[in-house]
Amino acid sequence: MFDYAEAAVEAALAAGARYADARVMDRRHESMGARNGEVEELTQEASVGIGVRALIGSGWGFYSTADLTRSAAAQAGAQAAAIARASASVRGFDLELTPVEARQDSWANEVREDPLAVPLAEKGDLLVAATRTMKEHGADVALAAYDVWDTTKWLVSSEGHRIDQHIVECGAQMNATANGESETQRRSYPGIRGQYGTRGWELVRELDLEANAARIAEEARALLTAAACPSHDAIDLIIGSEQMALQIHESVGHAVELDRILGWEAAFAGTSWLDLGQIGRMRFGSELMNVTADATLTGALGSFGYDDEGTPAHPVDIVRDGTWVGVLSGRDSAARAGLPESGGAVRGDGYSRLPMVRMTNVGLLPGTSSLEEMIAATDDGILVDTNRSWSIDDKRLNFQFGCEIGWEIKNGRRGRMVRNPTYTGIGPRFWGSLDMLGNESEWKFWGTPNCGKGQPGQIGHTGHPSVPCRFRGVRVGVTG
């Protein structure tokens, strides 16, 4: 496969590119879904192809094809250069790339049990049992699904990179929906997006779907008659780690993407409220807040050996003691921002997509409190968990998130269950109100397998180390 990539890079250089790289990717994806005790869908997809990136002047040209021959690869390289050249009619500054050592290496993540080797019948039985149990315990609609991605990629660059990686990702999810007279309620396990990681089938076994199926079905049914979450302009809010993963993803992860900060995503995904001139000085949150982007975390969904530009995975400080100190970057965006090196956060969704800045494992470092200590320390508050809806503005500042379930907290005790809890806030003001942070025993690497970005659209796999947190004075209970 390296031969095809080399042919493409050589052809791009011959056609005038001052830099080129090529990725051959071979990806298998398997997914199965069950509904109400029956397996309903089983899809196995195999794709292989080459994507070539060529840099001329201020713009990238990218061409991808499923034809894998030396001549087709060379043609793809020449096409990529021709496309980059066409960009010159609407030209900007000359794009530079930060230096990175040209490595020749192989990398693979740890897999204890190959998920594609687990018999389909066994995997189906797992989903059938979980959905059947949810139905038996009150769910009107019970869904369960798993996904497996097995990706091998070969990178060659005109600077001498020659890296192959084998990355296996998998995970599962399930949810129970109960229908009421005027609304529906849903409970998901282990979260709305399930749980995914760069691990083998052992991850799915550890989830133990069957053991949690009855509980979530009963909770969904109970929510139909629970009291509506009361409205408060300012109340103490404790957020479980699954919802915190979403909070981090939306209001920190996307906000610190350097391509957004530079305006390169302005028309679609949006920009960021962060100003590069303020890095190292801007207060992002309270002193308890420490966030890193770390692609080296074993088993987390945003982990890899090298990003798609050949930059080795390494941890990057994003927020230190509440101060914004870092960004998610690639070689071109880092150079444009005057940073000395890439943050190693560039990935593409398969061979047919241009690699771009994506989150790795962006998450909170743990603090010292347990969830029970947070509840005990709260006189009047709301506890929420499991994301249900998520909306945030194009600067990643104003958010409103809904959760599947909540509980009132009175005098240090968990009280009655409430339905349809929502909360809203402004990023730095909200993070500034963080006053209790979950401890290491509650630190969990949540995986988000469906982060959308870019045009044409790309789906990214990101990780979010997270803990329960308490925030003071939050607006809760926004209704339509």
Binding site: G33, E38, V39, E40, E41, L42, T43, Q44, E45, A46, S47, V48, S58, G59, W60, Y63, S64, Q79, I83, A86, S87, S89, V90, R91, L95, P119, L120, G124, V141, L143, A145, N179, E183, G263, W264, E265, A266, A267, F268, G270, S352, R388, S389, W390, S391, D393, L397, N398, Q400, G402, N420, T422, T424, G425, I426, Q455, P456, V478, T479, G480
Partner: protein, 445 residues
């Protein structure tokens, strides 16, 4: 092209033989997109598309395989993989069987020049957009797609279709505002970068130095991109056979759930539509009236939900849609007779909104959705736009917003808008004047 793709279908079906029921879809073409930001082209991509999808049913045991290679060895692997998987599956009680042979509509949403557009042609339109901004910073994209699809199944169906689509979509930016402009068509030649850029520039300049407006219920004039956003939720969570079957939908057929002036259809044959004339199961598309004169009148089905609910497939099956079920790709709102200016003139006190952003549903049954405004928002008083306002968050039931006596005016400005939120294809919609919209906060909290 279509004969070559049909030949791939035949080679797959020959490998399946009599072992199972089978349907094959082969797609080929070119997806190209040129992106610009900070007023220059920074990303420029072309993908030579090739996909082969096979679904087999072996005595009711169903499995699907997909790939992107069409050599003999790859096709044999594809077939073997699907059959092996099917043998391990239990019988699917909801399997509806294959679509019977039926001709697709003889409508060709196709333009050869668009399907094979060179990057220079997209760059030329972007250049015109940037120049029209007259010094304002700009960002956006111009895309061209040309795809041919062949479908065949072991029940004897053989179909081919093709579609081209071009989009130009961008913003112009002042120090305090963004304004958007966009155009979509089957033909790239229909897209004028200077016109779209001038529209974005006007919106950016006219929404500069916006002031805050307090939360509350306001009349609204929603421009077409907002209307497409609303329809995506109504369609995907409401007029969806799967959602109805599962009891998650608000839809009650035969009841006046909407304002009497509101009519909605899925209509592949509309002259402004784009797309292929059959779905992933080989069912031809046809017009489906979803709302007629305010009365809910129809649902979107694939073969599975049609079987479950005793209906017929409407030709809206989507490969890999999973628990979503069927989705409409060509929604059309019946236009009214009022110009955009006349819609604004009828507003006592309200808000004109260009775009919605990051809309998410809180409950599918009540259709309560939260989101924000974007790319140009203005206060209207006594029928006149009086000042720009900063972006606002809303939390609003979309079904409530369109119920009886809530639609005060429907525009004549039918517009094709691509990239429907959570949807497929492109919808053809006018602007709407609605009696009430619940803005729950400013963008600053």
């Amino acid at each position: 092209m279509s004969d070559r793709l049909l030949d791939v279908c035949e080679r797959v079906l020959a490998r399946v033989g009599t072992q199972a029921e089978a349907e094959v879809t082969v797609t080929a073409g070119t997806d190209a997109l040129t992106r610009f930001a900070t007023s220059f082209i920074h990303q420029n991509v072309t993908d030579a598309v090739r996909r082969v999808r096979l679904r087999v049913a072996l005595d009711g045991r169903v499995a699907e395989s997909a790939g992107n290679q069409d050599d003999d060895e790859a096709l044999s692997r594809l077939v073997g993989s699907a059959l092996d998987a099917a043998r391990l599956r239990p019988v699917d009680p909801g399997w509806p069987g294959l679509a019977p042979p039926s001709p697709a509509p003889s409508i060709d949403h196709w333009d050869e020049a668009t399907a094979h557009a060179e990057p220079q042609e997209r760059a030329r339109r972007i250049g015109a957009f940037v120049r029209a901004a007259d010094g304002l910073e700009t960002a956006g994209f111009c895309s061209t797609t040309g795809e041919t699809v062949a479908f065949a199944n072991s029940a004897g169906s053989r179909l081919t279709g093709r579609t081209s689509v071009a989009n130009l979509d961008g913003i112009a930016r002042t120090a305090t505002s963004d304004g958007s402009g966009r155009a979509s068509s089957v033909r790239l030649a229909d897209l004028d970068g200077s016109v779209v850029g001038a529209e974005a520039t006007r919106r950016a300049r006219e929404s500069a130095e916006a002031g805050d407006l307090g939360p509350g219920r306001y009349e609204v004039v929603l421009e077409p991109a907002c209307v497409v956003n609303v329809l995506s939720f109504l369609a995907n969570y409401g007029f969806n056979g799967r959602a109805v079957e599962e009891g998650r939908s608000f839809v009650r057929i035969g009841e006046p759930q909407f304002d009497a002036s509101f009519s909605l259809a899925d209509d592949f044959g509309h002259p402004m539509a784009v797309g292929i004339g059959f779905d992933a199961e080989g069912t031809p598309k046809r017009r489906v009236d979803l709302v007629r004169g305010g009365v809910t009148s129809g649902l979107i089905h694939d073969r599975r939900t049609a079987k479950a609910l005793g209906a017929e497939s409407t030709g809206n099956a989507v490969a890999g849609a999973g628990p979503w079920g069927a989705l409409p790709a060509n929604l059309v709102v019946e236009p009214g007779s009022r110009s955009r200016g006349e819609l604004i003139a009828a507003v006592a006190r309200g808000i004109l909104v260009t775009d919605f952003w990051y809309t998410r549903i809180l409950d599918p049954r009540t259709q309560v959705v939260t989101g924000l405004t974007r790319n140009g928002v203005w206060l209207i008083e006594d029928g006149r736009v009086v000042r720009p306002v900063t972006n606002m968050r809303f939390t609003q039931s979309f079904i409530e917003a369109l119920r009886a006596d809530q639609v005060r005016g429907i525009g004549s400005d039918l517009t094709l808008v691509g990239g429907a939120t959570f949807g497929l294809g492109a919808y053809v919609v006018p602007s709407l004047h609605l009696a009430s919209w619940n803005f729950t906060g400013g963008a600053k909290g």
